[in-house]
Assembly symmetry: D2
Homo-oligomer: 148 residues x 4
């Protein structure tokens, strides 16, 4: 696997994941060369992120004053994926800041090959001000429990 800036020791990094979702690559997500479109992976990350945050108890109530927004996103493509393949998208909380957390992603196929890796910051935004706001104690604790 190609070296990427956000992974120091791949085996250690990989061992910290314990939550994943299953994705069947759709026909509409494949391009004219038969490859999974690079844009689709960010849809997969989003699904994995939403289910992971629910799983660890984050942002359960979006009707309040705060909303998780995406600060940045990146994805590295290690192996081509084709129509009809199944991917398992793993996600974990890598670290936590005052008003944000860093999520990391790993996508492997049914043979266990690493197809994609990624990461991105989620910012806790105040809906009224449109600016970042400190994470609540409850959220911070939920994240710290999840971070290995």
């Amino acid at each position: 696997m190609r070296k990427v800036s956000y992974i120091d020791d791949f085996e250690h990094w990989k061992s910290e994941f314990d939550f994943s979702i299953r994705i069947d690559v759709r026909f509409s997500e494949v391009d004219m060369f038969g490859h999974m479109n690079n844009v689709a992976t960010f849809d997969y990350f989003e699904e994995a992120r939403i289910k992971y945050m629910a799983h660890i108890g984050l942002f359960k109530d979006l009707s309040g004053d705060e909303l998780p927004v995406v600060g940045d996103l990146q994805c590295d493509y290690h192996k081509q994926v084709y129509f009809g393949e199944t991917l398992y998208i793993y996600v974990k909380a890598q670290s936590v800041g005052n008003s944000s957390l860093d999520l990391h992603y790993l996508g492997i196929n049914e043979q266990g090959d690493v197809c994609i890796t990624g990461r991105g910051v989620i910012i806790n935004m105040n809906k009224k001000t449109g600016k970042s706001a400190p994470l609540s104690t409850e959220h911070r604790e939920a994240i710290l429990t999840a971070v290995k």
Copy 2:
């Protein structure tokens, strides 16, 4: 604007762009909070990239042995974008390697605000081997002419 790892001097970086496409944010690209979905930006980068590569004379013939594939992608979200807004997505060749080139992206709204920035490597892939292949002299020269 928040500091991002791939931009040293923002004003200088910005001054090197001279190609852009216009994007009207679609209703289907807006999420339940009224914000442009973060996945849509990678669709915009793709459109900008395809038109830019055609503009500088790269990969004009995809029926041959070689194909440009995406090696990695990243995007930083600096300002929320809403349904009905227009974005101008700028793209430039930042650097060239033996078998790849690095493209950078800038998305600004009609008021000139920086909404998104990004980058990603394009790899020249041989269709038969599925592996990277050195850029042809023609492609390398086209890229070097474009890089500021």
Copy 3:
């Protein structure tokens, strides 16, 4: 052109359109056989519909009690469309009911070939009850002015 149930006299039907939007078929909207994906056309209809309704003065304020929702949609594919082609999506109000209106669609390429036709009902829904509600006098008049 193949006969479709919602068009009696094609030339007459076509002559009633006078509003259109331009769509450049995106790379991500093309499938592994090089054809425009059939799902993309409904995205095009949506863009055309939103801009047409704004054009004739419908549903300008979505913060009120009422919301336009899609009751049904249909599309007939008459000619294959490929990546890089430009489509002009025409839309018109065909008829109006008590709480709904019927919109018709025509998509032609730059050579003037009919590529797609379609139609669908838009229902005026009350946000609180989740049920259809009579169109206001203002909306009804705007539609009747638009219907040929």
Copy 4:
């Protein structure tokens, strides 16, 4: 449920389905009013169609001379669907023609409510001529076995 043109007796029509796929409505498929976007349903139909055709033995080999293309599509929206809901998309072969077949669709939520219904013709196209071609005896028999 609202009456639709392609369903005579709803209970009878519904009883003929015995193949379905499960769809979890994605965050990116929900619009700014919290509703499942109407375009997403055609993606669901496509997934259901591809898996159903494989299930009954149609178009197993797309490397040959023939390709299934979509002739028309329609969808009726009976009940709003929200983010996080699960839909079961049923599909059946309703009838067969010389070079085409008519597929019908039913989407129900976990409570068994009818949320969407639809239909559309699939045409057997010859890749070289770009025109419709008679279904092979093998394909015709597979469809006739599936039609109730």
